[in-house]
Amino acid sequence: MTDRDPLLDRVIAELKRPIEVDPAARRRLLDAVAAGSRRRPAAALLRRAGLVGVAAAAGIVLAVLAWPGADNERDVGRATPVRFALAAPAARDVALVGDFNDWDRDATPLEPVGTGDEWATTVWLRPGRHAYAFVVDGMRWVPDPSAPLAPDDGFGMPTSVIVIPENM
């Protein structure tokens, strides 16, 4: 420990280099202090992704539920109920769009759950590959960070993929 190692001195100097402070992060911190509450962990990720002004978090939970029975008019022939959820505490509304609802932003709104931090909905998906995304406040496309990415076909907005197996 007493030996000075020039290599380690360089390492320490490198690690001591200050990290540039993002004024927006400082502002959020002061706001959170003032509010006496803390923000959701992934909120900053979304903000960094260019979703300025959205305090929505993208901790997405996607769980295949137990079959709840055919309680609606959906085609349940070979479909499986899949729960999509998005942590988006500051969102006004959240919609699920995908190839299972013709990418219609009005077709599958998510509902706030509990305290309203989380939004969720359950849709019935047939076996196969499905592309989907969340649309926050009608304009911001949010992929599922826990899911595989679909290639961008030049539309410039992120899309995720879920595969429903045949024998589910």
Binding site: D99, W103, G128, R129, P148, D153, V161, P165
Partner: protein, 216 residues
Amino acid sequence: MRWVAAALCALLATATPLHGQDRRLDDRLDAETRRAVLALVDSARAAGLPTEPLIQKALEGESKGATGERIVAAVHALLGRLREARGALGPTAGDAELVAGAAAISVGVSADRLERLRRVGAGASLTLALVALADLVQRGVPPDTAATAIEALARVRSGEAEYRMLRQLVEQDIRTGAAPAAAALERARLITGGRSPVIPPDGPPGPEPPNVGGER
């Protein structure tokens, strides 16, 4: 008479989706874009390729606010890739496999690699493997290297959990500074636990040779 009614019903039932597709496009695309998309849909049908993915691609573009020109280009490109995927994956490939194969092709995976993956992973979910493959490439893993990693998993009949594991670990490694190619190969080795060889691509070298970790 009952048979006639039944036949008529069956005909209507099969015709409905097509009619529905037309209406969906009517509502959301301008006339010129719609005509171009429908021509591509007709080509797909004539070639025995699935048409719904093309309709969905057009609707996705419309929902994302793309121009008509961009939508037609995307649908056209998808049709080409579906053809290529069918060539690589064979006539028995299902719609989901073809769409997943087309996605893999769109990020630079060669038809040869798709065909090889189909042979290697026979019996397992090819769709899962193809989706994972396209995802890895988008995270920066060179296509041939990604295909090698995915083949290793497919060879041992991996399921959703294994592919998810690979994706998460590679993502984590890349975040902490690892080279994507090295991360993919190393993680594939770990996940398969040596049950499946992770052989870097043979034949002509790919655009970027895999950078395997120094321990081997």
